[in-house]
Subunit: 84 residues, 2 copies
């Protein structure tokens, strides 16, 4: 398992309700792809979303979004987590 941060840019019509609904769908399908979402951050004005999740691969991470809602990230970056 590795940790990944993805970035979605210029998501159209991004609202708190829409992004929370999409995230809920991610949680519902993540187990099928061996993935565990940790958190997400978003900006309603510019339509940016960051998602942080553990996954067996970048492809598995992407597969969750593909199956859940089809809103694919612009970038997926493997990361290490620093100290708080």
């Amino acid at each position: 398992m590795a940790l990944y941060m993805d970035i979605h840019k210029n998501v159209k019509g991004l609202t708190k309700q829409a992004v929370e609904g999409a995230h809920q769908k991610d949680l519902e399908v993540q187990g099928k792809h061996g993935t565990k979402f940790h958190n997400f951050w978003y900006n309603e004005t510019d339509g940016t979303v960051f998602c942080l999740a553990e996954a067996p691969s970048k492809e598995a991470f992407a597969a969750v979004h593909r199956e859940a809602h089809g809103l694919m990230a612009d970038e997926i970056i493997e990361v290490n987590e620093g100290g708080g």
Copy 2:
């Protein structure tokens, strides 16, 4: 106070030790700028760093990095945090 995520891209010579050292310097000066760093994530291979912090403004957030080590972000995005 607002929450911000920044992105540093293609940081040269990024190592675990270097990024942790830079973060430590952020923590030492953040109080002067009313800012509180929460966490950071990094990729040693491509030199990407994400920093998450509460700050009174985008400028205050940037001022911490400027004073601490001079490694300025490519983007600073105000965000809301979603559910875990």
